[in-house]
């Protein structure tokens, strides 16, 4: 500790009574480090009044030792040198609390994952590093300040945006477990894209039956309020207490308070204007074909389907997941209507993933549907009465006669997606689909707490997948809404007197937790930063950005980090 810092210390820092517990973790630490020597060393550090090594600090005996030492030795700070805070910090903090010490007066040095485990072959260096880590933790501990967890109440009500299969499934699931739900649909009818579909792959149920059943369920729930021809126009607040403005069918603005939001705004099929001679007459899209199949007005006998129209291309890089399945399904229905019809599918990769889908492909082949790969560098050409297919195998162009061309176009994000994302302060990806918090582990969550995602608003999905995701998003929202209260860590940003309201930090905050507020002093109006305690995650971007110390993160304040850095450099 440099002399300068020592002089400027507050009394509670100077008088801190620190206890250090060095854990052997069986052989995990003690097998590579000399824990007894570390304990002796810890006892020599400033303000350390007690140091003890134990076999397992996390065992009952170890926890009891921490509690006893707090009570009997009058410890005002506790440092445990052991494993990862991710696994054991909550346990040690609660031990402090049980012994009457504010749990935020606890600090951890990770001498296992970050030392003994990674330096097994370099014992001497590892021992020195462990000493450094302990010295740094002790130095910081002196500057820790007591904090209180942040608690907030919540409204047990959910908003579902979008009344397609995903949104309806989510709304029904939540209503069933006793949550009040507001379901907002911009069209005059529920059902979304499903209303335009004929039959469902792979089993062939009628889409209209599913729509009817789902709508009936939605309407039967007393605690589910459906708003048709309505749109969300404003979203304020945070998890547990979102203030939502909705413009209803009569043009009136309605306010709702909800604890959680499920986004199920769906996707739309791309209209392929200018691609492959699309004309809506004899060159149509799969969704237009669905409508023909539904009404039974299909007379074509020679049908050619072209896959990946407007997808997997430089301007739209993604694969739309469901179009191959749709094409094969529709090919089978055409064969069912007209067994003598020729159906020819031109594809790049036939994406019949999973168990049931691949079976449809076998069935289609068995029924005489023809499949041919086309070269993306030389795609098929649609002409009057025929499609020209270049066959790389033979180096020849084959003319496939046809009276109907079906273009398989991708599902694309609705136009208003960016605006809606902006409204809710949630992210979208490069294709304008909503962006989940984690591609693998949190596919239905947003990074913004309390808002969830499902269906084709996330990425193209089958009806079955969309429904499963709707249910999934409901259960994610339930994990929030079934809490008695929301509790957040106090280790978040705090505005200091040095803030002059420049607003640099506001734009950079990844959680939208910061805003500027006006306040009056000596008859003048000033601006300063304001932290939303439920939104802030304590990431520290603001503190790192602020040129004047106007915002700090509790638990990572300048003097705490300075003490840690000074302690680190002391060894040099």
């Amino acid at each position: 500790m440099s002399e300068h810092t020592e002089k400027t210390m507050k009394p509670d820092v100077l008088e801190a009574r620190i206890g250090v517990f060095v854990c052997h973790c069986g052989s995990n630490i003690a097998g590579y480090l000399d824990c007894e020597a570390l304990t002796k060393y810890a006892a020599t550090l400033p303000r350390v009044v007690y140091a003890k090594n134990n076999l397992y600090t996390c065992s009952e005996a170890g926890i009891a030792e921490i509690k006893n030492a707090i009570e009997q030795r009058g410890l005002t700070r506790v440092v445990v040198a052991s494993c990862s805070p991710r696994t054991h910090m909550p346990l040690f903090k609660s031990a402090c609390a049980e012994a009457g010490l504010n749990p935020y007066l606890f600090e951890m040095a990770n001498i296992r994952d970050q030392c003994s485990w990674v330096h097994m072959q370099q014992r001497e260096g590892a021992q020195e590093k462990a000493m450094d880590l302990i010295r740094m933790a002790v130095a910081k501990a002196a500057f820790l300040e007591p904090q209180q967890d942040i608690e907030s109440s919540l409204v047990r009500k959910a908003l579902v945006i979008g009344g397609g299969v995903a949104g309806m499934s989510a709304a029904i699931a939540m209503a069933d477990v006793g949550i009040d739900v507001v379901l907002v649909e911009k069209e005059a009818e529920l059902g979304g894209l499903l209303r335009r579909i004929n039959r469902l792959a792979p089993k062939g149920e009628k889409a209209e039956d599913l729509v009817r059943d789902l709508v009936q369920l939605v309407l039967s729930k007393e605690n589910l309020k459906t708003m048709l021809e309505s749109e969300v126009t404003g979203v304020g607040g945070v998890i547990g207490n979102y203030e939502v403005s909705i413009r209803n069918g009569n043009g009136l603005e309605i306010q709702e308070m909800v604890g959680s939001i499920v986004v199920a705004t769906g996707a739309v099929p791309l209209q392929p204007h200018g691609l492959f001679g699309y004309n809506g007459q004899n060159v149509i899209t799969q969704i237009e074909l669905e409508e023909k199949l539904r009404s039974g007005e299909l007379n074509a006998r020679n049908v050619v389907m072209i896959q990946c129209v407007g997808a997997r291309s430089p301007e739209r890089t993604y694969c739309s997941r469901v179009c191959c399945l749709t094409a094969v399904k529709n090919a089978l229905y055409i064969k069912e209507m007209h067994p003598d019809a020729h159906v020819h599918i031109l594809y790049r990769d036939i994406q019949m993933y999973g168990a049931e889908n691949e079976k449809l492909l076998w069935d289609a082949r068995g029924r005489g549907v023809r499949f041919d790969v086309y070269d993306v560098g030389r795609p098929p050409v649609v002409k009057e009465g025929a499609v020209e297919l270049y066959r790389p195998l033979m180096g020849e162009v084959e003319e496939i006669p046809c009276d109907l061309v079906i273009l398989s176009t991708p599902l694309v994000a609705p136009e208003n997606t960016p605006a809606l994302a902006n409204l809710m302060r949630i992210s979208i990806d490069q294709n304008n689909f909503f962006l989940e918090a984690h591609a693998k582990l949190r596919p239905l969550d947003f990074a913004t707490d309390g808002i969830f995602l499902c269906g084709t608003a996330r990425y193209p999905a089958t009806v079955c997948e969309a429904q499963a995701q709707g249910l999934g998003a409901a259960s994610r929202a339930e994990t929030v809404l079934f809490k008695e209260k929301l509790v957040a860590s106090a280790l978040i940003s705090q505005v200091t007197d040095l803030c002059d309201g420049c607003g640099y930090c506001v734009d950079l905050c990844p959680y939208n937790a910061l805003s500027l507020e006006e306040y009056e002093r000596d008859g003048h109006i000033y601006k300063r930063n304001k932290v939303d305690k439920m939104l802030c995650k304590g990431c520290g971007v603001c503190a790192a950005t602020c040129p004047k110390g106007g915002v700090v993160v509790c638990g990572f304040t300048r003097n705490q980090l300075q003490a840690q850095v000074d302690a680190a450099l002391e060894a040099m």
């Binding site: 076999l55 477990v177 890089t317 990769d349 994406q351 582990l441 339930e478």
Partner: protein
């Protein structure tokens, strides 16, 4: 870890369901908790027991590529973080044998050789079966040579090679080269012992072995002391061992990581002989493994042989393009006919180049088989236990809508027990199954529609 720490989750590891009675909203489930011979509440997972355990076996988690002990933790991050004794190999459980070392070294006093299975009943409203899947046994396709050609491995084995905590610490070697590396220390020991064995004679007769052997060869010590003959034999043995060691050392020194890698897709999937369906996730893990292999080794050349590359998830098509662009992955549209073994254990891939319409062969360092996702071996038994039906593929049968309902109300499934799927899909489905279970618990169940 989140599961282990959650206050509302009672984790019953190493346990099996024995009986299910009752109905949706009111199931009674009999569970058998198998004895692990370690007290979970006391074990701290320190690993002192496994360190000292004298019984070595192959490491199941690393697919036999590494070593494990009779007291083991399946993998480092497992929850609960407790060890288990494999009673089928532990000395203490073998008739007429004794050990007790782990009990002695365990400072937590957690070892309990007398632990018995516990049977108890749970009362639950809904059941979710997330029993996962098994991988197709590649030996069933003899023309691919798995199990016979040593440098043909499965994708899961390759995953362990790529893992920093795996048996090769993330380096990719040919299996045959790895065997040579492993044999080296043993060979060194043998050689050392043979050379050391000569010292006794050298002392006894005050002569170097080389000098002695030269003279012995010229017939100087013939018919004399029996010890001379023994010494001569020992010299021959030591020279042979030294020569063998040198050969092995040279071989090991010249070992390079495996540069030419070939992935064979649809091994056991999309194949009428085995599973007609597509396993869904293998194209993506092949691409991922190819990219990682290339990150580890800039000289890696990776070929993926498949009928279609099914990159159908969010960001997957982009990932596939990245594989080609950044990792130089060659996607070859082909169904591989056969793999043979060439000189120096080199696997040779025989395939039809569908663009040129010719049969080609390609020698590579390692062949990686993307094996199919199959219903787990216990699926049929679990289905009988739960009273639910299976579908034509052997997975649990579900309604289309709602998609995770089995044929028995109150019982739901998710993940690869449903059908092959990737991680995001599995995670999303798990949440859906939870929502369905919550509906049942809330006394509704009205989501069940006529199918």
């Amino acid at each position: 870890m989140d599961v282990g720490r959650h206050p509302n989750i009672n984790l019953l590891a190493y346990s099996e369901v024995e009986k299910v009675e009752g109905q949706a909203g009111d199931f009674r489930v009999t569970v058998r908790k198998k004895p692990r011979y370690v007290d979970e509440s006391k074990c701290t997972g320190c690993g002192a027991c496994a360190e000292k355990c004298p019984t070595v076996t192959s490491d199941e988690y690393n697919l036999g590529l590494g070593k494990a002990k009779a007291i083991y933790k399946y993998f480092a991050q497992g929850i609960p973080s407790a060890y288990t004794i494999d009673a089928t190999i532990c000395r203490n459980f073998q008739p007429g044998k004794k050990c007790g070392i782990c009990q002695k070294v365990c400072q937590a006093g957690a070892i309990d050789y007398k632990q018995e299975a516990k049977i108890f009943e749970l009362s639950v409203g809904a059941i979710i079966a997330a029993t996962g899947y098994d991988l197709f046994d590649a030996r069933r396709i003899p023309e691919y040579g798995y199990g016979r050609i040593r440098n043909v491995i499965t994708a899961l084995e390759f995953e362990r090679f790529l893992s920093a905590s795996g048996p090769t610490h993330g380096h990719v070697y040919r299996v045959t080269d790895l065997a040579a590396q492993e044999a080296l220390p043993e060979m060194e020991k043998v050689c050392q012992k043979a050379v050391k064995g000569l010292e006794r004679y050298e002392k006894q007769f005050s002569m170097t072995s080389d000098e002695f052997y030269g003279r012995y060869e010229s017939g100087e010590f013939k018919g004399g002391n029996e010890e001379y003959d023994k010494w001569a034999a020992a010299v021959v043995a030591a020279r042979k061992a030294t020569a063998e060691l040198e050969v092995l050392q040279k071989k090991v020194e010249s070992i390079e990581s495996a540069h030419r890698l070939a992935f064979i897709q649809c091994v056991g999937s999309r194949d009428i002989r085995f599973n007609k369906y597509c396993s869904g996730f293998c194209c993506m893990h092949a691409i991922k493994e190819a990219i990682i292999a290339r990150e580890h080794d800039r000289d890696a050349q990776v070929y993926i042989f498949g009928m279609d590359i099914r990159a159908v998830g969010k960001g997957f098509e982009e990932y596939r393009n990245r594989g080609a662009k950044e990792a130089g992955v060659h996607y070859i549209r082909s169904r591989v006919a056969e793999i043979t073994e060439g000189k120096n254990h080199t696997p040779i891939i025989w395939y039809e180049d569908t663009k040129e319409r010719v049969v080609r062969q390609m020698p590579v360092d390692l062949v990686i088989l993307s094996t199919a996702c199959q219903p787990s071996a216990s699926t049929r038994r679990v289905a009988e236990l739960l009273g639910i039906e299976l579908n034509e593929f052997g997975f649990y049968k579900t309604a289309s809508y709602p998609p995770l309902d089995t044929t028995r109300p109150g019982i739901f499934i998710c993940g690869c027990a449903h059908s092959p799927m990737d991680i995001p899909e599995s995670v999303a489905q798990a949440s859906s199954a939870a929502a369905r279970a919550a509906q049942v618990l809330a006394g509704s169940g009205t989501m069940r529609l006529a199918s």
